[in-house]
């Protein structure tokens, strides 16, 4: 019985994560797959830590919104160059073209 308890205790310590390490794995998970053990450790931690669960949900939201920002829809451009800026840019190109 004592041996069993001892083993359980060791296994628990092995599987326990603190929030620092848990958030590290959450950040890692947004980029690559976690190993089986890492995943298990993280799942166990998230069951009992609502703050890390929040961090995880918010991380997923942030990643998704960064992707949204990075995708530029040609039919819905948020910014425009002014006609003056455009003229100036094209002039530089034309000058280089004519210099050939």
């Amino acid at each position: 019985m004592r041996v069993m308890k001892n083993m359980m205790g060791r296994m628990m310590t092995f599987l326990m994560l603190d929030c620092n390490k848990a958030t590290f794995l959450i950040a890692k998970k947004e980029i690559t797959h976690l190993t089986f053990i890492e995943n298990l450790k993280l799942k166990i931690h998230l069951l009992s830590c609502k703050y890390c669960q929040r961090f995880s949900d918010q991380s997923i939201l942030i990643t998704r919104q960064i992707t949204n920002i990075s995708m530029i829809d040609p039919n819905n451009l948020r910014l425009r160059l002014t006609p003056e800026q455009k003229e100036c840019m094209q002039k530089v190109i034309d000058n280089k073209l004519n210099a050939r």
């Binding site: 620092n20 950040a27 890692k28 947004e30 690559t32 960064i66 910014l79 530089v92 190109i93």
Partner: protein, 195 residues
């Protein structure tokens, strides 16, 4: 006859530099802006892209569209911009303090005054998407240069982790430390501006 016209169209390569600004200027400008978050820098990057494209004109094979080709050049310019930003004297870890206790039996647990708060469902609703995104953009630009560079290259340019490390001169373990801390700081910054 048919053959020669094919060759001709290949030679001219379907590039039309006289219309580059009109046809692609705005798109490239937006692409740059939503990464570097600075209008003047974006304008410079677009102009540099056109100049570099003129120089490399003969290498255009017509296998991709003109815009795809210009965009590839622009992407390189954006990465160069961040690489320069990142190679500054800035220390990798910066002076950001982690939101975790670093002693006692609760070592590694969240500090009481820096616990993640509930953002509610507002942050995730399409209605507030633009506001959330603009806060996110500001917070990204407030990250230490190297963290920002790593983050943009990884999540916006979607480079491989190896490539990101190469561009930013960081070791693989360094890379994960940066990603972790950048996430923590970014999250806190958004929370402070959003709630």
């Amino acid at each position: 006859m048919n053959n020669s016209s094919e060759i001709k169209s290949k030679e001219s390569g379907n590039l039309n530099p006289g219309l580059w600004v009109e046809n692609h200027g705005d798109y490239l400008y937006n692409y740059a802006y939503f990464r570097v978050n600075n209008k003047e820098v974006s304008e410079d990057i677009v102009q540099e892209t056109f100049i570099a494209a003129l120089k490399a004109k003969d290498s255009f094979r017509g296998e991709s569209s003109e815009l795809t080709w210009l965009l590839a050049i622009l992407k390189r310019k954006v990465i160069d911009y961040f690489r320069k930003l990142s190679s500054g004297k800035e220390r990798v870890i910066s002076d950001y303090t982690l939101p975790f206790r670093d002693e006692g039996i609760f070592d590694g647990h969240w500090l009481g005054d820096r616990l993640p708060k509930d953002w509610g469902s507002d942050a995730d609703s399409t209605l507030n998407q633009e506001e959330f995104q603009s806060i996110l953009q500001v917070c990204l630009s407030l990250l230490p240069p190297k963290w920002r560079s790593v983050f943009v290259m990884k999540f916006m340019e979607e480079l491989s982790s190896d490539e990101v490390c190469k561009e930013n001169e960081c070791t693989p373990s360094n890379f994960w430390v940066i990603i972790h801390r950048a996430r923590l700081k970014l999250r806190e910054c958004i929370e402070n501006k959003w709630l």
